[in-house]
Point group: C2
């Protein structure tokens, strides 16, 4: 797979998951894996970055099956950002699709 395709798009994918319900890193990676090929060392930095930018808040919760889990939750700002970026993504893919079809 072309690594480059994922640039910026993984942010959207992660936010999409968390938009539905609070999730912890490991869970997010597992979910993502059923759609696209990603690794922990890709996802965790995204979580940290988006948290730092104010799009997520986090809270720790104990688990009976291993180490404590850090849950991520979208902030109001995060929701707005998610919708804005997802819209841009849609527009971008439509434009590329159009180009590929028209030129073919």
């Amino acid at each position: 797979m072309q690594t480059q395709f994922k640039k910026g798009v993984l942010d959207i994918c992660v936010m999409a998951l968390i938009a539905k319900k609070d999730m912890y890193g490991y869970e997010i990676v597992s979910e993502l894996l059923s759609y696209i090929d990603v690794t922990e060392s890709t996802v965790y930095p995204i979580l940290r970055r988006l948290t730092k930018e104010g799009f997520f808040t986090t809270y720790i919760q104990e688990s009976s099956e291993g180490p404590a889990r850090k849950y991520y939750q979208l902030t109001q700002e995060g929701i707005a950002h998610y919708q804005a970026v997802a819209t841009e993504w849609q527009a971008f893919t439509v434009a590329v699709q159009k180009l590929l079809q028209e030129v073919q």
Copy 2:
């Protein structure tokens, strides 16, 4: 626009254009601009890189409207590469689309 979205995709767009007919840099930039926002300093490095990788051959042709133009032409290898990468792109966008819809 999210700069990151373009990573890797511009290669495909450029190849798609050249696949139709031989084109020179400036012409490619102009065409691309009717679909997506790009600059010359983005497109020329792509042309140079893909040429170096053996996907394009080039030839110079005089012009009556300005400096000589360097035309780019897809090699056999370039055609194969283009089709492979374009297919991956389709698969990738479909996967992301699916994720965004299912999770919503």
